[in-house]
Amino acid sequence: MYSYSDFDEAFVRSRVAQFTQQVERRLDGSLTEDEFRPLRLMNGLYLQLHAYMLRVAIPYGTLSPHQMRQLAYIADTWDKGYGHFTTRQNIQFNWPKLPDVPAILSALADVEMHAIQTSGNCVRNVTADHFAGAAADEIEDPRPYAELLRQWSTDHPEFQFLPRKFKIAITGAPNDRAVTKAHDIGLRMHRNAAGEPGFEVMVGGGLGRTPMIGHTVRDFLPVADLLPYVEAVLSVYNTLGRRDNKYKARIKITVHETGVEEITRMVEERFAELRPLFGGADQALLEDIRAAFAPPAFRNAPIDAYDAFYKADPSFRAWADTNLAQHRNDQYAIVTISIKAHGETPGDATSEQMRVMADLAERYGHGDLRISHEQNVILPHVHKSDLPTLHAALVQVGLGTANVGLISDIIACPGMDYCALATARSIPIATQIATRFDELKLEHEIGPLKIKISGCINACGHHHVGHIGILGLDRAGVENYQITLGGDGTETAVIGDKTGPGFAYDEIVPAIERIVRAYLNLRSEAAETFLQTFRRLGMEPFKAALYDGAGERDAA
């Protein structure tokens, strides 16, 4: 893992010291709220519906056990004993009190963490494939590049007051697990004809009120050109981006209004100016960073115990079938720990669960933990012989749910249970859907199905790219839920289509059930996934099931 340099350490400590004094000045009245608000937001502190909320960055989703334990300590000491993992690979604490926040930031700095640039119109936490460095399909670990981008973008003087926030996602694999096409800049690694790695650069993707899939502005960018090229994109955006209208200020609108060709031309022109100014210091730094992400010393040991256990224990087998992914080392597996037990809040982990995950990562996972944008926790390197023991330990603390990629593995934003921007609740919709399909014992039969729920048009819950997306709105003072179908957040990204009129709070779960039952009736075979069936048949049969009461026959 990357460790802070003296420079990083001094910078983060000085920001904690500054903010400590700013809080003191706010509390003694020397600063008004109007003066204080931008200062607290620069440090990740929001005022939400019922309390303050502190958003802490987990750079490219990577955590050490030591850091995870500190998050648990913060949750116990200054919050209510839990934390909420978000779709941006951050963690949010929902109940901090203003006078305690400097102490929390100081505790974060003790483990090389902070809340800087988790709000505001700047480059936010750079997100990455949560299987980085472990996935079998990966060309190269994207995290050294993400760390380079983090260092470059942190406190970058030119990009602290962009027209709007700016999100970069990066993956080193052809299978996109980082939703790169729905980011302001998406970076996907490819190899060129000579076999060298480079990035496809996509610009202008984003969800929110105007969902758009990113446009490729460079098919292949040599890795050495990454910083000057990203700087060129930001520089063009900083100049062109609309500061007159908040709703048209994201780069996706800039690209849309300017045209992909013209934006590409301008970026290339700016890149030609910037490239010579990068004298190689960035590449020297990248080499140092790379060393910090060297793979662990993989163990070479038999995996017979795993095979035997897999055959013998059905509950272990169910978990292994859904929660494991292929590791680049055949003796290893990537473990996704579901933070989505049926009926529990998606993405919430208690301090006890955090400590158990930290211990297990240390004992069985080469000390590596990841947070996924799908709000789960990953142990990227587990030797297969350790899986039965690991599974048993997870089950004991409610972390053994075998549902990754299934209907109850739902992304849900905090919604109107916490968020000041929300127009409806999302968490209770997620828990009710999960509970309902658990009761029906249908979720393994249904197979891969991603439901994503947002409690407002800003789409933190990625509903546009859910196979089934749910958007909570306020319709004449009542919660109303709009459904989209056919969304996809992978390398074949698509924005889902609206089905039609929305559903009331107590109608939405039965509506989802009608869609899913229709799918079970319509699929050509058990192996045809929901998304494949939707792509084959289109919206009509699902619409009929949803609105005409058709397709309600029992799927069996």
Partner: protein, 101 residues
């Protein structure tokens, strides 16, 4: 004829804790919605909001929220304001827990 004025309460969050509070007729900040002053006159509402906004060391983000008279006192009209009287629906946290204790 102008439309009748929808009654209001003044609400905000406490500066230090972030808790949701309401302004009472005797100038206190209460966590209980039903103890709030129900304001039925627009000009008076603006005066009360100014009064609230001036209390910079006590509260943040004061605004007027629609309310209606109820058996115990003012009741919220919109579901967002109803949630603010209680706390989140996924845990027994926030005012629903704190006020019971």
């Amino acid at each position: 004829m102008s439309r009748p004025y929808t009654p209001k309460v003044v609400t905000a969050n406490r500066l230090r804790e972030g808790d949701v509070v309401y302004l009472t007729a005797d100038d206190r900040w209460t966590p209980h919605h039903h103890e709030a002053e129900l304001i039925v006159d627009e000009a008076h509402a603006q005066m009360r909001l100014l009064h609230a906004a001036a209390q910079k060391l006590l509260v943040v983000g004061a605004y007027l929220a629609d309310a209606k008279p109820g058996a115990k006192g003012p009741e919220p009209v919109h579901f967002r304001e109803a949630f603010r009287t209680r706390g989140p629906s996924n845990y027994d946290h926030g005012k629903q827990a704190d006020l019971r204790a």
